[in-house]
Symmetry: C2
Subunit: 229 residues, 2 copies
């Protein structure tokens, strides 16, 4: 019997925002896999640290942080092969995913390499959008409203046309695109209705009205919540 | 010292999809509030039943299931007054919310009546969209894609224009709007790329390709996931 690959969402940062199911799987895991950057830290592993078992085998997949896709694909190949080895020997593998595994997550790059041959179970996680909204304590969407999740990497033109017809929006992957986002929101008279939440529920969390931010970049893990008044 | 009002998301149905924070607050609660329909059951209370404390005070807010808004608003007034009484006496109140409290949730109707006077803390929950996606084991959105959350109650024309520019969409509140949704998806050649998930992660869960569904209504808690190939 092969082992099962569990893609487990660990939520936005607060360890208490893991699900009970994620806690059960992680605390009882024999093999835990995760991505790490350039031989360094894994945010997902840091989030679950309070719940790690005393002893477990690590499969750390070192992701080259480069623009080209080929080195990343090679890293996923190599990592998936290491995971497959454990599955072949009948051991389950818990793969840690920041936020939710299938919501802009990297889990697909592992699961698409293994799902034909092995059982895959996905445990959803709290997204940064739900976390940011909870911190703001204001409804994100209600009744018949439309929510759009818009990566800030898209063109100003497309961002503008999508925002023009949204009741509410979450703009993600903000980083160095902050000026473009501010310009578009300003054109639509929505700048005063936007709030930036950096690192929601982490110790480094910062919440600011977008119109008070002057810096040319924000962390990649910034969510801008826009809610039409 | 007044008590704190906790708006706690209990997720889509599987009790293990509660967060650790929700579990901690619910299992230690002295007062638990929730909505129920016409004197009957509360889905949120059913979800958390494995985690309820041995003894607690219930504040059941009976919602009249009628089209007019006034009776519902009167029920929220009355329920909020009962919650305020506990908060005034220094007791925390845990208000149970299906899914995520601020994502198409009813918690706003309670919190807007109490947030000026009392501390309110929101604990995010797993949405039915994350749950449905996890059951499908396919990515919902990745890289620079746009996600739209579209209530099926909107007009066919608006639904069509929004779907035309979405990489992926979650159509919620399906119920008796199924034929309209199918017609629009068909016009856009997206019908074959849509899957209906009824009651995600509950014992009554059903997953079907949308093009295999002939019935004129689906449960209200059906999510249709559309992902452009």
């Amino acid at each position: 019997m092969s082992g099962i690959l569990f893609g487990v969402g660990v939520g936005p940062g607060d360890p208490e925002l893991l699900t009970v199911k994620a806690w059960r799987l992680i605390s009882g895991a024999s093999t835990i896999a995760y991505l790490c950057a350039n031989g360094g830290q894994s945010t997902a592993l840091e989030i679950v640290r309070p719940f790690l078992p005393d002893a477990y085998k690590s499969i750390a997949i070192d992701m080259p942080m480069r623009v080209e896709r080929q080195p990343a694909q090679a890293a996923y190949d190599e990592g998936s092969n290491r995971i497959a080895k454990d599955l072949d020997e009948g051991r389950d593998v818990v793969f840690l995913c920041e936020g939710d595994p299938l919501f802009y997550g990297s889990f697909k790059f592992v699961s698409e390499r293994l799902i034909q041959k092995y059982d895959v179970v996905v445990v959803p996680g709290i997204t940064s959008i739900s976390a940011a909204t909870a911190e703001l304590r204001q409804p994100l969407v209600e009744r018949d409203e439309t929510l759009k999740v818009l990566p800030a990497t898209m063109s100003a033109e497309k961002l503008k046309s999508e925002l023009a017809t949204a009741s509410a929006a979450a703009i993600i992957k903000v980083g160095r695109h902050i000026d473009k986002v501010k310009a578009v929101l300003s054109e639509l008279n929505l700048l005063d209705q936007a709030t930036a939440i950096e690192h929601a529920t982490r110790p480094t969390q910062i919440i600011r009205p977008l119109n008070e931010i002057a810096s040319p970049t924000l962390p990649y893990f910034t969510t801008i919540i826009v809610r039409r008044k």
